[in-house]
C-alpha cells in the first residue's frame, strides 16, 4: 500500500491511469448497448476494420502523427460499420455473418497494405503495427485531452438520446411504429461505438478492444436490473479496470499496460458471472440445492 502514494505523484502513472479510466468509462457505456442489442462482437469487427484506415492515412500523409492515424482509423471503422448495416438491411445475411465478412476483408486489406508499405523507400515509417496493438504507457497529455473531449461528446449524446437508445435497444419495431427513424438511430449508435473504439485503440489496441467493449457491460448486467444502473456500473467497472491495470503495470516492471487492463476487466466479469446475487451461477446452484432440500423435507412430512 505504501507504494501508492509515490505512484500518485508519478506523471506517467497519472497520465496512463487517466487515459485508461476514460477508455473504461466510454467503452463501458457504449458497450452496454452493444451487449443488449446482441452485437457484442461489433467491437472486435470494427477495431480490426480500422487497420486499412491507419495504414492508408500514413501512406497518404507520410506522418505517424497520432491524430492523423486515428482519423484514418475512424474513417475506416465508420465505413465498415456502414457496410455491415447495409448488408444486413438489404439482404438475408444475418448480423454476425455480415460482421465476419466485412471484418476479415478489411483486416486482410490492411495487412496487405502494411506489407506493401514495408517496401516504400521512406526511412521513417516503421511502428504502424505498434499503433494497432496499442502502447498505453506512452500516452501523452494531448492524447488524454483528445480522449476526454471526444468522450465527453459521446456521453453527452448518450444522455440526450437516452430514451431513444433505450426503446431502440429493447423493441426497434415498436420504436419505428411510433415514429422514430430506427435506421438513423441504428447508424448513430453504431457510429458512437466506432468513435469509442477509436479512442481506445491507442490504449489497448485492436485485438483487446473488443474485450473492453463487452466485458464491463456483461459484468454490470449481473448486478443491476435497470438500464441506467447497468450503464453506470459498466462505466465504473471499465474505469476501475483501467486504473488497476495502470497500478499493476507501474508496480511491476516489464508488465505491458494494455493486456493487464483487459485481464482486470475479465476478472471482474468472471466474478460477476459467478457471484452476483440472483443471476450469478453459484447463487443459482445454491437456490436449486435449497429448493431440493425443502422439497425433501415436505415430502417426508406428507408421507
Amino acid at each position: 500500500m505504501d507504494f501508492l502514494v509515490p505512484l500518485l505523484g508519478d506523471y506517467t502513472f497519472r497520465t496512463v491511469a487517466l487515459g485508461a479510466a476514460l477508455l473504461g468509462i466510454v467503452s463501458g457505456v457504449l458497450g452496454s448497448f452493444a451487449v443488449l442489442r446482441q452485437q457484442s462482437l461489433l467491437g472486435d469487427g470494427i477495431s480490426h476494420a480500422a487497420l486499412p484506415g491507419v495504414v492508408t492515412a500514413f501512406l497518404l500523409t507520410g506522418s505517424k502523427n497520432t491524430e492523423i492515424l486515428l482519423l484514418g482509423a475512424l474513417i475506416s471503422g465508420l465505413a465498415a460499420a456502414y457496410l455491415m448495416i447495409t448488408i444486413v438491411r438489404h439482404s438475408r445475411i444475418k448480423f454476425d455473418s455480415a460482421l465476419a465478412l466485412v471484418m476479415s476483408v478489411f483486416f486482410g486489406l490492411g495487412l496487405a497494405l502494411l506489407t506493401w508499405a514495408q517496401k516504400t523507400p521512406n526511412a521513417n515509417q516503421a511502428g504502424l503495427k505498434r499503433f494497432i496493438y496499442g502502447q498505453a504507457s506512452t500516452l501523452l497529455e494531448r492524447d488524454i485531452v483528445m480522449m476526454a473531449a471526444c468522450g465527453a461528446v459521446l456521453l453527452l449524446l448518450v444522455a440526450l438520446l437516452w430514451k431513444e437508445f433505450k426503446i431502440f435497444s429493447f423493441d426497434p419495431d415498436f420504436a419505428q411504429s411510433i415514429g422514430f427513424d430506427t435506421t438513423k438511430l441504428n447508424l448513430l449508435l453504431s457510429f458512437l461505438i466506432v468513435v469509442a473504439i477509436i479512442i481506445g485503440l491507442q490504449t489497448v489496441g485492436v485485438v483487446l478492444m473488443s474485450a473492453m467493449l463487452i466485458a464491463p457491460g456483461v459484468a454490470a448486467r449481473q448486478w443491476s436490473n435497470q438500464l441506467w444502473l447497468m450503464v453506470m456500473l459498466s462505466a465504473v467497472f471499465g474505469a476501475l479496470s483501467g486504473v488497476l491495470g495502470a497500478v499493476i503495470s507501474s508496480a511491476i516492471p516489464s508488465m505491458p499496460t494494455g493486456p493487464v487492463i483487459v485481464v482486470c476487466i475479465s476478472v471482474i466479469a468472471t466474478i460477476s458471472l459467478l457471484f452476483a446475487p440472483g443471476r450469478g451461477i453459484l447463487h443459482k446452484i445454491y437456490r436449486q440445492l435449497k429448493a431440493r432440500s425443502l422439497l425433501q423435507v415436505e415430502g417426508r412430512d406428507i408421507s
Binding site: 438475408r92 423493441d171 420504436a175 411510433i178 435497470q226
Partner: protein, 249 residues
C-alpha cells in the same frame, strides 16, 4: 363511403422476400370503429400485412392510406402496436412500468424526458390491464400472459385511434383472454379501430365484427356475418377450414 370513413386502406400491395411473394396484390379497406380479425393459415402473410401497414416492412409495390392520408402525413404516435410477445428479448434490464412508459415516447418526441403526467398515465393503463401491482417487477419474471398485458398497456398509453395487434390471445390464460376482450370492446365503444391478427377461428364471431380472410391474397374482407362462412374458409384454408371452424356453423 369515402376515404374519411376508412381507418386504413391498402392498395395493390405486394410484399416478397427474394422471389417468393408473401403478400400478393392486396386490396383492402377497413372502416373506422370496427373490431377486425385477420385470419388465415400459417405463412399466409398475416403478420407481414400488419407490419406493412405499420411501415415496418418495405413492399415491392403498393400503397397504404390512413383515412385520406399517406403514412408520411399522419401522426405515427396515434397508431398503437401490440407485437407478439416473442418478438422481444425479455431479459432486458427494465421494469414493467419502464416498458409501458415507452408508449409515451412518441408523444415526447426527441430528447425530452418522461414526466409525472406520463407516469400517471402509465399506471392508469396498468390498472386497466390488471398489472398495477407488478409495476416495479422485472420483465424477465413475467409469464406469457403478463407479457402480453404489458404490451397492451404500452399501446393503450399512446391514446391511439387505430390499434394493430399480433396474436394477442396466443398462449394466454383464460383470465387474460377475458381482460383483453373486455378492453377491446371498451376501445370499440370509444370509437377506436382494432386490427387483430387472430389464430383461433372458433372465437372470431364472438370477439370480432369484421374479418379479413387472407392466404397470400385476400380471400374475403367484410362484416363477420356476411363473410365468415364455410365457402370462404375453404378457399382460405383448403380442406381444413371446416375442422378449424369447429362447432360454429
Amino acid at each position: 363511403m369515402n376515404c374519411e370513413d376508412y381507418a386504413v386502406e391498402v392498395c395493390d400491395l405486394t410484399v416478397a422476400y427474394d422471389v417468393k411473394p408473401v403478400l400478393w396484390d392486396i386490396h383492402l379497406a377497413i372502416p373506422k370503429g370496427k373490431l377486425v380479425a385477420i385470419v388465415g393459415p400459417n405463412g399466409a402473410g398475416k403478420t407481414t400485412l400488419i407490419k406493412a401497414m405499420l411501415g415496418l416492412v418495405k413492399p415491392v409495390s403498393g400503397a397504404i392510406f390512413f383515412g385520406c392520408n399517406t403514412p408520411k402525413m399522419i401522426d405515427k404516435k396515434k397508431i398503437g402496436y401490440v407485437p407478439q410477445s416473442g418478438s422481444v428479448d425479455w431479459d432486458f434490464p427494465a421494469t414493467v412500468l419502464d416498458v409501458v412508459m415507452m408508449g409515451r415516447y412518441g408523444h415526447l418526441g426527441w430528447f425530452k424526458r418522461p414526466g409525472h403526467k406520463d407516469r400517471d398515465m402509465a399506471m392508469e393503463m396498468l390498472h386497466k390491464v390488471g398489472m398495477h401491482q407488478y409495476a416495479a417487477r422485472q420483465i424477465s419474471q413475467l409469464s406469457g400472459g403478463q407479457q402480453q398485458r404489458v404490451f397492451l398497456a404500452r399501446a393503450l398509453v399512446q391514446q391511439a385511434d387505430l390499434y394493430f395487434m399480433d396474436e394477442p390471445f396466443k398462449g394466454v390464460d383464460a383470465q387474460t383472454e377475458k381482460s383483453i376482450v373486455w378492453l377491446m370492446s371498451e376501445l370499440k365503444n370509444q370509437g377506436k379501430t382494432m386490427v387483430v391478427v387472430h389464430h383461433d377461428l372458433r372465437t372470431v364471431p364472438d370477439y370480432f365484427d369484421w374479418v379479413t380472410l387472407i392466404n397470400t391474397r385476400i380471400v374475403a374482407n367484410g362484416p363477420v356475418g356476411e363473410v365468415f362462412h364455410e365457402k370462404n374458409l375453404c378457399k382460405a384454408y383448403g380442406g381444413q377450414g371446416l375442422l378449424l371452424k369447429g362447432a360454429a356453423v
